[in-house]
Symmetry: C2
Subunit: 105 residues, 2 copies
Protein backbone atom coordinates (compact mmCIF):
# COMPACT_ATOMS: atom_id res chain seq x y z
CA UNK A 1 0.00 0.00 0.00
CA UNK A 2 3.00 2.26 0.59
CA UNK A 3 4.59 2.89 -2.81
CA UNK A 4 8.01 1.36 -3.41
CA UNK A 5 9.80 4.23 -5.11
CA UNK A 6 13.38 4.43 -6.42
CA UNK A 7 16.20 6.52 -5.03
CA UNK A 8 15.42 10.26 -5.44
CA UNK A 9 15.25 12.50 -7.34
CA UNK A 10 11.88 11.70 -8.89
CA UNK A 11 8.56 13.58 -8.97
CA UNK A 12 5.31 13.53 -7.01
CA UNK A 13 1.85 14.87 -7.80
CA UNK A 14 -0.12 15.56 -4.63
CA UNK A 15 -3.83 15.67 -5.43
CA UNK A 16 -5.99 16.79 -2.48
CA UNK A 17 -9.74 16.86 -2.94
CA UNK A 18 -13.15 17.26 -1.34
CA UNK A 19 -15.83 15.08 -2.95
CA UNK A 20 -19.42 15.97 -3.75
CA UNK A 21 -22.23 13.72 -2.43
CA UNK A 22 -23.00 10.36 -4.09
CA UNK A 23 -21.00 8.14 -6.40
CA UNK A 24 -22.14 9.37 -9.87
CA UNK A 25 -19.75 6.97 -11.60
CA UNK A 26 -16.75 8.04 -9.55
CA UNK A 27 -15.69 4.61 -8.25
CA UNK A 28 -15.82 2.92 -11.67
CA UNK A 29 -13.69 5.68 -13.21
CA UNK A 30 -11.34 5.63 -10.24
CA UNK A 31 -10.79 1.88 -10.74
CA UNK A 32 -10.20 2.43 -14.45
CA UNK A 33 -7.64 5.17 -13.78
CA UNK A 34 -5.80 3.04 -11.20
CA UNK A 35 -5.51 0.24 -13.75
CA UNK A 36 -4.63 2.49 -16.68
CA UNK A 37 -1.94 4.51 -14.92
CA UNK A 38 0.08 1.35 -14.20
CA UNK A 39 0.88 1.10 -17.92
CA UNK A 40 1.85 4.74 -18.22
CA UNK A 41 5.56 5.29 -19.05
CA UNK A 42 7.41 6.82 -16.13
CA UNK A 43 4.79 5.89 -13.53
CA UNK A 44 6.46 4.77 -10.28
CA UNK A 45 3.53 4.13 -7.94
CA UNK A 46 0.80 5.85 -5.95
CA UNK A 47 -0.70 6.16 -2.48
CA UNK A 48 -4.25 7.12 -1.65
CA UNK A 49 -6.38 7.72 1.46
CA UNK A 50 -9.69 9.43 2.10
CA UNK A 51 -11.86 10.37 5.03
CA UNK A 52 -12.82 14.06 5.37
CA UNK A 53 -10.59 14.90 2.44
CA UNK A 54 -8.89 12.66 -0.09
CA UNK A 55 -5.17 12.67 -0.75
CA UNK A 56 -3.72 10.80 -3.71
CA UNK A 57 0.00 11.04 -4.34
CA UNK A 58 1.34 9.62 -7.60
CA UNK A 59 5.05 9.23 -8.22
CA UNK A 60 6.76 9.77 -11.57
CA UNK A 61 10.15 9.48 -13.18
CA UNK A 62 10.09 13.01 -14.62
CA UNK A 63 7.88 15.99 -15.49
CA UNK A 64 7.46 14.78 -19.07
CA UNK A 65 5.81 11.55 -17.82
CA UNK A 66 3.38 13.63 -15.74
CA UNK A 67 2.52 15.75 -18.81
CA UNK A 68 1.96 12.65 -20.95
CA UNK A 69 -0.44 11.17 -18.42
CA UNK A 70 -2.29 14.49 -18.33
CA UNK A 71 -2.82 14.20 -22.11
CA UNK A 72 -4.17 10.62 -21.85
CA UNK A 73 -7.64 10.63 -23.41
CA UNK A 74 -9.54 8.75 -20.68
CA UNK A 75 -7.69 10.68 -17.97
CA UNK A 76 -8.87 13.89 -19.62
CA UNK A 77 -12.46 12.58 -19.56
CA UNK A 78 -11.98 11.72 -15.87
CA UNK A 79 -10.66 15.21 -15.08
CA UNK A 80 -13.58 16.85 -16.87
CA UNK A 81 -16.05 14.69 -14.96
CA UNK A 82 -14.17 15.58 -11.79
CA UNK A 83 -14.93 19.25 -12.27
CA UNK A 84 -18.52 18.63 -13.42
CA UNK A 85 -19.63 16.03 -10.91
CA UNK A 86 -17.22 14.50 -8.42
CA UNK A 87 -15.31 17.27 -6.70
CA UNK A 88 -16.40 20.29 -4.70
CA UNK A 89 -12.78 21.43 -4.48
CA UNK A 90 -9.33 20.19 -5.28
CA UNK A 91 -5.70 21.21 -5.34
CA UNK A 92 -2.79 19.82 -7.35
CA UNK A 93 0.85 20.21 -6.38
CA UNK A 94 3.73 19.11 -8.59
CA UNK A 95 6.84 18.34 -6.55
CA UNK A 96 10.37 17.14 -6.92
CA UNK A 97 11.16 14.47 -4.33
CA UNK A 98 14.61 15.27 -3.03
CA UNK A 99 15.01 12.87 -0.12
CA UNK A 100 13.26 9.74 1.07
CA UNK A 101 13.56 7.29 3.93
CA UNK A 102 11.44 4.50 5.25
CA UNK A 103 11.05 2.28 8.26
CA UNK A 104 9.40 -1.05 8.89
CA UNK A 105 8.84 -2.92 12.15
CA UNK B 1 -9.26 21.12 5.20
CA UNK B 2 -7.26 21.67 2.00
CA UNK B 3 -4.18 23.70 2.98
CA UNK B 4 -3.98 27.27 1.71
CA UNK B 5 -0.37 27.45 0.62
CA UNK B 6 1.55 30.36 -0.92
CA UNK B 7 2.89 30.62 -4.45
CA UNK B 8 5.61 27.97 -5.03
CA UNK B 9 8.39 27.23 -4.50
CA UNK B 10 7.96 25.86 -0.98
CA UNK B 11 8.48 22.41 0.55
CA UNK B 12 6.32 19.40 1.37
CA UNK B 13 6.89 16.43 3.67
CA UNK B 14 4.81 13.44 2.59
CA UNK B 15 4.43 11.02 5.50
CA UNK B 16 2.76 7.73 4.53
CA UNK B 17 2.12 5.18 7.26
CA UNK B 18 0.48 1.93 8.26
CA UNK B 19 -0.74 1.90 11.87
CA UNK B 20 -0.50 -0.90 14.42
CA UNK B 21 -3.70 -2.04 16.21
CA UNK B 22 -5.18 0.01 19.07
CA UNK B 23 -4.75 3.62 20.12
CA UNK B 24 -1.92 3.37 22.71
CA UNK B 25 -1.87 7.14 23.18
CA UNK B 26 -1.68 7.88 19.47
CA UNK B 27 -4.69 10.19 19.18
CA UNK B 28 -3.71 12.37 22.15
CA UNK B 29 -0.19 12.82 20.76
CA UNK B 30 -1.54 13.42 17.27
CA UNK B 31 -3.76 16.23 18.63
CA UNK B 32 -0.79 17.69 20.51
CA UNK B 33 1.38 17.65 17.38
CA UNK B 34 -1.33 19.28 15.26
CA UNK B 35 -1.59 22.09 17.81
CA UNK B 36 2.16 22.45 18.34
CA UNK B 37 3.15 22.53 14.67
CA UNK B 38 0.94 25.58 14.06
CA UNK B 39 3.41 27.66 16.09
CA UNK B 40 6.44 26.30 14.31
CA UNK B 41 8.34 28.92 12.25
CA UNK B 42 8.02 28.26 8.53
CA UNK B 43 4.98 25.98 8.87
CA UNK B 44 2.50 26.65 6.03
CA UNK B 45 -0.23 24.07 6.60
CA UNK B 46 -1.02 20.37 6.45
CA UNK B 47 -3.46 17.86 5.00
CA UNK B 48 -4.22 14.43 6.41
CA UNK B 49 -6.37 11.42 5.52
CA UNK B 50 -6.43 7.80 6.63
CA UNK B 51 -8.25 4.62 5.74
CA UNK B 52 -6.08 1.60 4.78
CA UNK B 53 -2.99 3.77 4.95
CA UNK B 54 -2.50 7.24 6.35
CA UNK B 55 -1.10 10.13 4.37
CA UNK B 56 -0.13 13.37 6.08
CA UNK B 57 1.42 16.11 4.00
CA UNK B 58 2.89 19.11 5.80
CA UNK B 59 3.98 22.23 3.93
CA UNK B 60 6.99 24.36 4.83
CA UNK B 61 8.71 27.54 3.81
CA UNK B 62 12.15 25.92 3.50
CA UNK B 63 14.27 22.90 4.43
CA UNK B 64 15.61 24.62 7.53
CA UNK B 65 12.08 24.93 8.96
CA UNK B 66 11.59 21.18 8.40
CA UNK B 67 14.84 20.44 10.21
CA UNK B 68 13.90 22.67 13.13
CA UNK B 69 10.56 20.91 13.56
CA UNK B 70 12.39 17.58 13.50
CA UNK B 71 14.50 18.78 16.45
CA UNK B 72 11.44 19.85 18.48
CA UNK B 73 11.56 17.94 21.78
CA UNK B 74 7.95 16.70 21.88
CA UNK B 75 8.03 15.87 18.18
CA UNK B 76 11.10 13.72 18.87
CA UNK B 77 9.19 11.91 21.64
CA UNK B 78 6.31 11.41 19.19
CA UNK B 79 8.62 9.98 16.53
CA UNK B 80 10.21 7.57 19.01
CA UNK B 81 6.76 6.39 20.15
CA UNK B 82 5.84 6.03 16.49
CA UNK B 83 8.56 3.48 15.95
CA UNK B 84 7.94 1.72 19.27
CA UNK B 85 4.15 1.56 19.30
CA UNK B 86 2.08 3.26 16.65
CA UNK B 87 3.41 2.35 13.24
CA UNK B 88 3.98 -0.96 11.50
CA UNK B 89 5.60 0.84 8.58
CA UNK B 90 6.13 4.37 7.32
CA UNK B 91 7.84 6.34 4.62
CA UNK B 92 8.90 10.00 4.57
CA UNK B 93 9.51 12.00 1.41
CA UNK B 94 10.92 15.52 1.41
CA UNK B 95 9.84 17.43 -1.69
CA UNK B 96 10.16 20.81 -3.30
CA UNK B 97 6.77 22.02 -4.56
CA UNK B 98 7.40 23.54 -7.96
CA UNK B 99 3.90 24.17 -9.27
CA UNK B 100 0.42 24.36 -7.78
CA UNK B 101 -3.11 24.98 -8.95
CA UNK B 102 -6.50 24.65 -7.42
CA UNK B 103 -10.12 24.58 -8.36
CA UNK B 104 -13.35 25.18 -6.48
CA UNK B 105 -16.96 24.71 -7.57
Amino acid sequence: MIAQTPKPPYFAVIFTSVRTQGDQGYNAMSDEMVESVQNQPGFLGFESARNDIGITVSYWKDLESIQNWKKNERHTVARNNGREKWYAQFRVRICKVEREYGWEK
